[in-house]
């Protein structure tokens, strides 16, 4: 919009001399904002470290004036988890990329962790952390943070690993040729290469994270109620007291929080990360600069601050730590040495012991009938996931194509869809539940749409992305040859957007499995609605605090998710990547 300012982007000096006074006033405003934020953070942290108030007495008030404070705490939990995820990502991905042996172990592990339903972790983490810090809120906080972490870390790690493994050979050679040490190479070459994927995955992770944070703030494991002041617990109390206005207020508060997060953090970060994208040329259309990034770049104080920060980082990144990596690695010998065999035997032994443990535990704990029952429930949930995916596709594919065919519409819809995807859908669950209770609807059917509520947006924004990157010439050819109707969909557009659609559908499928645990069982006041399914089974087991049942349910869901991936999604997307990828 503001083209005059945009044009100055390469000449900050000129701009600041023109608008100096205006900018200095903004500086002051920002300073106040930063101070307020610092105070808020300080208070919230002090509360986290306070002694555990008896559970029933944990005061979560439904008055609206408490909401901003709760929202801030929820946000803090999110960012604590994000920081933890980043640290984990750097360590894990680097290790996996550097060491061949570590890779053999860490990559499959990551694959498994990715398919574990995160809410299934909850029982274990809550019990673990409450046991670690008895009588302190910290235990509950850490449990919540760790739960969010489990929803964020895996895809970030995988993305970073892939970037580290695909550092361009010529840049790698340049780094070695000019004598960069391993430390310098890591910060000047490898991390920058990973930035676009890190930012993108962090954004996806945050979207999932908001869901988790809302869920994990108010949780019952056996006899222990964990209520952490936040938007999630606020909604929990509102459900208990059947206060629909409070639910609405929480939704509004969350909308504001996510809007701020989206505008202040994510969009500027995504625009900034574009600089680190590898590849030739301008790299597509330059999106307009987000206002907050513009503010940072044009405001004297902020840009000076940023400059100092970047200079410091540059100095640190050039510290001569690590080996110069000068002596080039000789090609690895083809024959496996003795060490290799020891390694394999060690891995094998660990696996055998673990397998034995699981088997003994399973044999002693579960009956065959129980396992059969759980798998039957899994079948129900599978049916739900599939039917919801089909339904969401039927709605969003045509709409997404309609949005995508017009660039202006596409951009607007894209932003909206990304925003919707980040919004924790479980805040809306009570609204549906009230409807179901009021009209006496069948929970088995009417609870089902909840699982796709948050996940459907992945389908939408991938379809939009696919359609808007569909080559215009191909569309023109179709118009020229009068190709239209169903034939056009079947032979032209659907194959063209299929790779994109699959990315969205796979993400939606994963999200739906996860949401099943939160959505197949719902409460409103004293009424509890339950649908038959694996999600409800896990949720009930969690509430009972029955570790063995949670374990069985989670493991079953894990197996189902992995089967679905290997038998359906992977072959299908391999085929799409081979056959249908445009250029």
């Amino acid at each position: 919009m503001n083209y005059s300012q945009l044009g100055f982007s390469s000449q900050p000096n000129l701009l600041s001399s023109i608008t100096q006074r205006y900018l200095n006033r903004v500086d002051v405003l920002l300073l106040v904002c930063v101070a307020a934020l610092a105070i808020g953070v300080g208070t919230a942290v002090r509360h986290m470290l306070g002694p555990l108030v008896p559970v029933a007495a944990t005061p979560v008030h439904l008055e609206f004036r408490y909401l901003p404070g709760y929202a801030l705490r929820t946000t803090l939990r999110m960012f604590a988890a994000l920081a933890l995820s980043l640290v984990f990502t750097f360590g894990y991905a680097t290790l996996a990329a550097r060491s061949r042996r570590a890779r053999q172990l860490l990559l499959p592990l990551l694959d498994v962790l990715q398919s574990v339903p995160i809410l299934g972790f909850l029982t274990f983490t809550v019990t673990f952390f409450l046991g670690l810090f008895p009588g302190r809120v910290l235990g509950g906080e850490l449990a919540a943070i760790f739960t969010i972490f489990t929803s964020q870390a895996w895809n970030m790690t995988l993305g970073m690993y892939q970037s580290l493994r695909s550092v361009p050979a010529d840049l790698e050679e340049t780094a070695r040729c000019f004598g960069l040490t391993s430390w310098q190479k890591f910060w000047r070459l490898e991390v920058p290469c990973a930035v676009p994927s890190l930012v993108w995955n962090a954004m996806i992770s945050m979207a999932g994270g908001w869901f988790m944070v809302v869920y994990s703030e108010s949780i019952t494991v056996g006899n222990t109620d964990v209520v952490l002041p936040g938007v999630g617990s606020y909604v929990g109390v509102a459900i208990e007291q059947q206060n629909i206005a409070a639910v609405g207020a929480a939704i509004v508060a969350m909308m504001v929080v996510i809007l701020i997060y989206d505008q202040v953090l994510f969009r500027p970060l995504a625009a900034w990360a574009a600089r680190f994208r590898l590849g030739t040329g301008a790299g597509g259309v330059q999106a307009s600069e987000p206002w907050f990034l513009r503010l940072v770049r044009r405001t004297r104080l902020l840009s000076a601050l940023g400059g100092v920060l970047l200079l410091g980082l540059r100095k640190i990144s050039y510290l001569p730590l690590g080996s110069r990596n000068g002596s080039v690695v000789a090609p690895a010998p083809a024959s496996a040495g003795r060490g290799e065999w020891l390694w394999r035997i060690g891995i094998g032994a660990i696996f055998m012991v673990a397998f034995y443990q699981v088997w003994v535990y399973g044999r002693d704990t579960y009956t065959l009938g129980q396992i059969e029952h759980v798998f039957t429930l899994g079948g129900f949930t599978l049916l739900r996931v599939i039917s919801m995916l089909v339904l969401a596709s039927l709605i969003w594919v045509p709409l997404g194509v309609w949005f995508g065919l017009n660039p202006a519409r596409a951009r607007a819809a894209q932003l909206a869809a990304q925003y919707c995807a980040a919004f924790p859908a479980n805040l809306f669950f009570p609204v549906f539940v009230v409807g179901i209770v009021h009209f006496h609807l069948t929970p088995d059917i009417w609870l089902t749409p909840l699982m796709i509520l948050g996940a459907q947006w992945y389908i939408l924004f991938n379809v939009i992305a696919g359609t808007s990157s569909f080559p215009v010439e191909l569309l023109e050819v179709c118009r020229d040859l009068n190709v239209k109707g169903w034939f056009w969909w079947r032979r032209v557009l659907l194959p063209g957007i299929m790779p994109y659609y699959l990315v969205g559908a796979i993400a939606a499928s994963g999200g739906a499995w996860n949401a099943a645990i939160a959505s197949e069982m719902a409460e409103w006041g004293s009424t509890t609605l339950t649908a038959h399914g694996l999600g409800a089974y896990i949720a009930q087991a969690t509430q009972k605090g029955d570790m063995s049942e949670v374990g069985l349910g989670t493991a079953t869901m894990c197996v189902l998710v992995m089967l679905l991936n290997t038998l359906f999604w992977r072959p299908f997307s391999d085929y799409a990547a081979r056959r249908l990828k445009l250029n």
Binding site: S10, P168, D170, L171, E173, T174, R176, C177, F178, G179, L180, T181, Q184, R188, L189, P192, V195, R275, F276, R277, L278, G281, A282, G283, R314, Y318, P320, R324, N325, G326, S327, V328, A330, P331, A334, R579
Partner: protein
């Protein structure tokens, strides 16, 4: 402009700076025998000279450059740098890459400063050096630009400045101009030679790897011609002209022609008969198959038609033909060689001439051309013969492509094997010998499956 100070004592011209001794390099493979890339290469670089390493793809010239830069350890042999064995990248050897290899997240200034920052040069000193290098190479004013904002020529200038700023004694350049358009490349070459002649470059010697003959003659004092598969040094020529050189000069043209002639007089193609003999003698087994460069059938036909047409009448001087068809050496030679392989043309003393079959081909209609191509493929390309034999043997008339890919990989890298297979598929489809099913990765005979 005061950038000519060399690091360390300047050696008198003629002193040996770097020396590659008996370099052999094998491309390591997990499965079958290793593929040899370089065979007993000896090369020395002296102070005060620009050396051109001229060769075709497959001559291992880029590999040799990386070995001399210390980026790649040779399988055997050694590189002496200022008399001492070289292990890993040395401080005063710098490399300029074909792809520029600029870091997209660093500004021009930061890219140039890379080598200095890595050494921990103090900021004040670094800034002076960077500024000097940037001005020297004609990048003044572009300090804060991002690489993606620059044209290819400007990007390569950044690559040059980054290499020069560390004041290397030796500058290694890997096809530095081949990614640029003709005008830009010429502009950069001229600037570089001018700086060199005026002794403004802080380097004592340069090695330029290229496949462009004119470029080598234009810039270098000595030209080393490498032969292919495996790479060996075939000829060494000195270029007696003073800078600046004139491309239209009679002597210049003659030298270019001479090099064309040298490069077309290749080692004889290894036939299966000689293969058996050399195997029996205990000598290293030469590759059973030759890697084919992707040359489409339309290019082959286009080339033959151009050759047969009036001004040339079936015979052409390669440099002239290159100019007429606007092709570079790396494009022209594979075409000529493919035609030679198929018995449709011959390369001789820097000339290419159509054989009788070639002339006949041009005069024929499409069906006849297909028949001739069938005949040529079956007689001259052993891989095609093998595939056809395998297809005929089976009642299903299909055979897995994997089998042939593996056989190719015994004598070349997987990339070349894939490329060779693709080229052959293209030719065979034109000749309607057999077809290929990509989804199933198998060859099949068209008629049997359609029935």
């Amino acid at each position: 402009m005061a950038f000519s100070s060399h690091s360390g004592p300047v050696s008198p011209p003629g002193t040996v700076l770097a020396e590659a001794r008996h370099i052999r390099q094998f491309y390591h493979k997990d499965s079958a025998a290793d593929v040899q890339v370089l065979d007993d290469v000896n090369l020395s670089l002296h102070v005060g000279e620009i050396v051109g390493l001229l060769g075709r793809s497959g001559s291992g010239k880029s590999t040799l450059l990386r070995i001399m830069a210390g980026l790649l350890p040779p399988t055997s042999g050694e590189v002496l740098w200022k008399g001492k064995p070289l292990h890993g990248p040395a401080q005063d050897i710098a490399v300029v890459f074909q792809s520029f290899a600029l870091f997209p997240w660093m500004t021009v200034e930061e890219n140039v400063a890379l080598g200095l920052d890595a050494r921990g040069v103090p900021a004040a000193e670094r800034d002076v050096l960077v500024e000097d290098a940037i001005n020297l190479i004609g990048l003044g004013g572009y300090e804060n630009a991002w690489p993606k904002e620059l044209s290819g020529g400007m990007q390569q200038r950044v690559g040059l400045a980054r290499a020069l700023v560390v004041k290397p004694a030796l500058l290694l350049m890997d096809e530095p101009f081949s990614a640029l358009d003709v005008l830009t490349a010429e502009n950069l070459r001229t600037d570089l030679i001018e700086l060199w002649s005026e002794q403004k470059l802080p380097v004592q010697s340069m090695l330029i790897v290229t496949h462009n003959i004119e470029e080598a003659v234009l810039m270098c004092d000595r030209i080393v011609i490498a032969s292919s598969n495996p790479g060996r040094i075939a000829h060494v020529l000195s270029v007696p002209f003073a800078h600046p050189r004139n491309r239209e000069d009679q002597a210049f043209r003659q030298l270019v022609d001479h090099i064309y002639a040298l490069m077309t007089q290749r080692a004889p193609i290894v036939s299966e008969a000689t293969l058996v003999n050399s195997g029996a003698n205990g000598a290293p087994v030469a590759p059973a198959f030759r890697a084919l460069v992707p040359v489409s059938i339309t290019m082959l036909i286009g080339m033959m038609e151009a050759l047969a047409a009036p001004p040339l009448n079936g015979r052409a001087d390669l440099p002239v033909l290159a100019e007429k068809l606007q092709l570079e050496l790396d494009d022209l030679f594979p075409l000529g060689e493919s035609l030679e392989l198929l018995g449709l043309a011959e390369l001789e003393d820097g000339d290419i001439l159509l054989t009788d079959d070639g002339v006949h081909f041009v005069l024929s209609d499409l069906d006849e051309r297909k028949a001739m191509m069938r005949h040529a493929l079956l007689h001259h390309v052993s891989l095609v013969k093998m595939i056809c034999a395998a297809l005929d043997e089976r009642s299903s008339h299909t055979v897995r492509a994997e089998r042939f890919r593996e056989e190719l990989e015994a004598s070349m890298s997987p990339d070349y094997a894939q490329q060779t297979l693709q080229t052959i598929i293209g030719w065979a489809r034109f000749a309607e010998l057999f077809d290929y099913d990509e989804e199933g990765d198998r060859f099949f005979l068209e008629d049997t499956t359609s029935e």
